[in-house]
């Protein structure tokens, strides 16, 4: 059982295909996910890396389950903050569910580490970048603060 858990649901006026592309394709993630992109072959068992714009690896893990347009499960370990890196790998589950002209997007990010600092950290990050993703898909513009990697981080 998980000891730390972040859970978030948002509804976006889009299609599962467009949302999937926005979640995985570098040209999209760079716009709303602090300039980052994900390096993965997107197959079960593939390695997964969240790449910081300056070339560092931000987070890393493995694709546990993947069903394009529907579901993605990753193991997720932080790589660039020593305090977080020391924790056991967390697990991120992303689910897409079409509801008429909208898609319900559910993110669950959990860790077996009690009071996980990684889950604390992503709990602040996810609502901001998911809001920016929703803005990007619905209006064409992401939210300003999520467009670039924070200076000095």
């Amino acid at each position: 059982m998980s000891n730390s858990r972040f859970f978030y649901v948002t509804y976006i006026r889009t299609t599962p295909e467009k949302l999937w592309q926005a979640l995985t394709a570098p040209e999209f993630t760079r716009q709303y996910w602090a300039g980052t992109w994900q390096d993965s072959e997107w197959k079960p068992g593939s390695s997964w890396k969240l790449m910081i714009p300056d070339g560092r690896v931000g987070d890393s893990g493995e694709v546990v389950e993947i069903e394009p347009g529907k579901r993605l499960v990753l193991t997720w370990r932080n790589e660039f903050m020593p305090e977080l890196r020391a924790e056991a790998a967390s697990r991120m589950t992303c689910e897409l569910e079409p509801m008429g002209d909208t898609v319900k997007l559910t993110i669950t990010h959990e860790s077996e580490t009690p009071d996980s600092k990684l889950i604390d950290s992503v709990s602040n990050g996810w609502p901001h970048l998911l809001a920016s993703l929703k803005s990007l898909l619905e209006t064409g513009s992401p939210l300003e603060e999520t467009r670039h990697w924070p200076e000095g981080m």
């Binding site: 948002t10 006026r13 809001a131 603060e145």
Partner: protein, 170 residues
């Protein structure tokens, strides 16, 4: 009869909106907005501290009501929150909860809205879960409405008598 499992856990939902604190405040406190994203319900109050407030359905009935505990436009709104029991269900309505909206500027043209549903008196777990299903729909709709001028075409969750109805308003 088995007693329902009770909880005093809060629900917190944070979202970021490309808007101004004043516009977000209006969207929370004016009926012209809430009818478009709050499952068709219009909000009514003079928003003075101590005043009554309520949500009114399109059919004229009121199913959520309470008192304004704190109103500090456009930053903070705290209301007590009572709901009518669901039609056709044996279960009594849950005890009063307290809902807080906190509106903060979060950088260039962006507002952070934090909704907290607190339970000074423990409520049955299934009511907590009902709220946790509803708030993301309501607040995602609020964000879309403010950013695009269009509400989201979402149906009301869980409550059986309203599932037939679409609250899609163009």
């Amino acid at each position: 009869m088995t007693e329902p499992e009770l909880t005093s856990e809060s629900t917190v939902y944070v979202l970021y909106i490309a808007s101004t604190p004043e516009q977000v405040w209006n969207a929370i406190t004016s009926s012209a907005f809430t009818t478009q994203y709050f499952f068709g319900r219009g909000v009514e109050s003079d928003w003075n501290e101590g005043s009554a407030w309520n949500l009114r359905k399109a059919d004229g009935t009121i199913d959520v009501w309470g008192l304004v505990r704190k109103a500090d436009p456009p930053r903070t709104l705290v209301v007590t929150w009572n709901v009518r029991g669901m039609e056709g269900q044996q279960q009594a309505p849950p005890p009063e909860c307290v809902v807080t909206y906190q509106v903060e500027e979060a950088g260039d043209g962006v507002v952070r809205l934090t909704m907290t549903e607190a339970h000074p008196t423990p409520i049955p777990v299934e009511w907590l879960e009902g709220g946790r299903r509803g708030w993301p729909m309501i607040l995602s709709g609020l964000k879309s409405l403010l950013e695009t001028g269009k509400p989201l075409p979402l149906n009301t969750p869980s409550s059986p008598q309203s599932q037939k109805r679409s609250f899609h308003v163009e």
